[in-house]
Symmetry: C2
Subunit: 230 residues, 2 copies
Amino acid sequence: MISLVAVHGIGEVSPGDEVADLVLQAVELEDYDVLVVTQKVVSKAEGRLVPVDPDDASARRDLILSESVRVLREREGMLITETRHGFVCANAGVDFSNVGTGTAALLPVDPDRSARRIRDAVQARTGLRVAVVVSDTFGRTWRNGLTDVAIGCAGIAAVVDLRGTLDASGRELAVTQVCVVDELAAAAELVKGKASGVPAVVIRGVERSWFRESSVRGEVVRAHGGDLFR
Amino acid sequence: MISLVAVHGIGEVSPGDEVADLVLQAVELEDYDVLVVTQKVVSKAEGRLVPVDPDDASARRDLILSESVRVLREREGMLITETRHGFVCANAGVDFSNVGTGTAALLPVDPDRSARRIRDAVQARTGLRVAVVVSDTFGRTWRNGLTDVAIGCAGIAAVVDLRGTLDASGRELAVTQVCVVDELAAAAELVKGKASGVPAVVIRGVERSWFRESSVRGEVVRAHGGDLFR
């Protein structure tokens, strides 16, 4: 069984806050827990906040472009760009909501490093072996609606490679590389979606063999040219 | 809290089997459970099996094309097509693995109808109000690794529309249409991934206000031309 529990009571996060400490004050972790933390909290703690007039479309656009290395599509004020991290998403992941009027939150500079920092701090304070996923909400090319995905991870496989595993008929499976960190982020969103202001979720019962060093950048981000649609 | 429990003991599924009965023999459901069932089980029960020599690349290709309305990309034997349902995925969702050598499983003709059939049968047998998601494993344009998504649903909102909700600062959120059925499918995969041969997962604790009539076809599938990349 896997269980998903919302972490309540973290409250407002400010630049310089240690996310691990905020979480540890709010919830009791166990070995092999996966802690999913939203990008917004990480960006705030890391001070990735910039002043911007949310009603100034030109300033918004400039900010998005400054976070991008490539524009893929632009329509009706919405930009699909590739960020410096290699993520393809709307508005370079710049978040103009929920950070107070007049302030935008940028993605963490290195979300895998952000995840490692939180994981290492939890380990230093508690001695526990946990994994951390930093999540954000992205759209998808062919499907309506947004889902949460992982933009950074630490201590857990981003992609579990089951290529070559035999299926029930003894026939070798062709491709089953599963992006478990995206599935962890998506699962956490089901708990966050039930209440507002839940910045972190604890997932317990995740397969222990998946706990290893990994990164979203190294395993999930497709290199430019490595996909069929860019 | 949300919990995810694997449904074990369903065994081999044959054409004509009633999926609801197989599940009810294996697990005790409760009101407001979400039952996630893999496409493979549904396709087998619905007899969506065709003989094909898995080593005959030309026959494989013809079968994929017969399930497609449009080819988006083709590279190294892998086809990205649009299925009759409007899904954009590899090989039109045709599953050449795990159905016994020499047999391929096609997607259900109408996966939303498949989900409704299971949901209605559970309700008829037990009186319980449950939701059903039929899941399959798809790739993503910009990210490595596969994740499970919903190809059909019944009794639960495919997309939860939070547009216009106020954020913590009282500022109106711009876009938060969350595809919860895809997140439910992804979450279920975390449990399936722990053991082989798990064809269904029960998710308990899902927000009750999300239980309503809905469909993947109506809410998730983007109309041709409604995306920026086709």
